[in-house]
Amino acid sequence: MNGPSAPIALTAHLILLSSISFGGFPTVLPDVHNFVVATHGWVTDQEFANYFAIAQAIPGPNMILMMSFVGWKVWGLPGAVASAFATFGPPCAMYFAAYRVWDRFRDAPWQRIVRLGLVPVTMGLVIASGTVMARAADPGWRAAAVTIAAAAITLATRFNPLWLLLAGGALGGLGLL
């Protein structure tokens, strides 16, 4: 269905995105969504939302899993493995290199300044990812209410997120959403 260039394009794009995914891979989810759903049509909106939900519900490296599902859709098992490596490989190399030089610059004032500038932007992106995923999953007001409630409960309590995910699944399974 897809030309041989599709898995290469996907892997290259994921390598690029994982290399700039400051604040974690969720920050680049909207861009992945644009690339695989809107630009190339490899994956439907519904499938993308399913990948997200399943990856979140399964323990383990959820964003790597989600990208593996996208890779699987495009190019079967090799695509899944390539997508997984593209998602964690480049950042791992950077973490390793960065941690080795970290001590040398531990008290440098620029570190504080960069952190002060970096964190607000990346957190704005994380919140944007949440809203993009909420809209891709289900535009209905009940689902939106569940999203808002889950965010509020997480912020207000120390609840294990697992229970919230289970509750969401139960509400959905009973046809209440």
């Binding site: 644009n34 979140q56 593996s68 899944a80 960065a98 500038g117 957190m123 889950a150 697992l162």
Partner: protein, 197 residues
């Protein structure tokens, strides 16, 4: 005789290092399997590496989290890389990351494909819709929580709102959002930091 002692000590050390690699693999396997949803992995990584195994100090862990926040990628994998590097260098990093990814990825991928096979089923579709709605809420909450320490700085809130709006509603490519906002945001932080002195 001293020779024997030395070699005995070497063997002893070698054995403890071997155990440590295996321990890194197993402990990060635990972190991976316990960390469902966003953010929970961080809690487990700290509990295991600092409290239970006493591999690193609280300060080390805070440093590692900061390094990881600076860099792109899945931060929790970054914590595995850094703890592994701290304890055993490159080999340790590979052991920790392998523990974190290998088995959980294989199980998760197989389980996920099984679920996706049946994802057209209406009940499963509804369940996934509910899980997805909650998971989106968890992401939003994580973003807000990490933003809270910056709530006293209007510039920080402005840049967070800009990033949110441009990405969430403007649907602009991430690279454009990142490289237009980051230099400005860091410059403003630097300017305010300079004035504060």
């Amino acid at each position: 005789m001293p020779r024997l002692t030395t070699s005995g000590a070497a063997v002893e050390r070698k054995r403890s290092e071997t155990v440590l690699l295996r321990a890194l693999f197993i402990e990060f396997l635990k972190v991976s399997l316990c960390g469902v949803g966003g953010g929970a992995g961080l809690v487990w990584a700290r509990r295991i590496a600092v409290d239970q195994r006493r591999w690193i100090t609280e300060q080390d862990f805070a440093d590692i989290v900061s390094v990881c926040q600076f860099l792109p990628g899945p931060n929790i994998v970054g914590i595995a890389v850094c703890v592994g590097t701290k304890l055993r260098g490159a080999v340790g990093a590979i052991a920790a990351v392998a523990g974190f990814l290998l088995i959980p990825w294989t199980i998760g991928f197989a389980l996920g494909l099984l679920l996706l096979e049946h994802s057209h089923h209406p009940v499963l579709q509804n369940i996934l819709g509910g899980v997805s709605a909650v998971a989106a809420g968890l992401l939003i909450a994580t973003g807000i929580r990490m933003l809270l320490p910056h709530r006293g700085r209007p510039a920080a809130l402005l840049f967070a709102a800009l990033a949110f709006g441009l990405m969430g509603f403007g649907r602009l490519p991430l690279l454009i959002v990142l490289f237009s906002l980051l230099p400005l945001s860091i410059a403003v932080a630097g300017f305010q930091n300079g004035r504060a002195r």
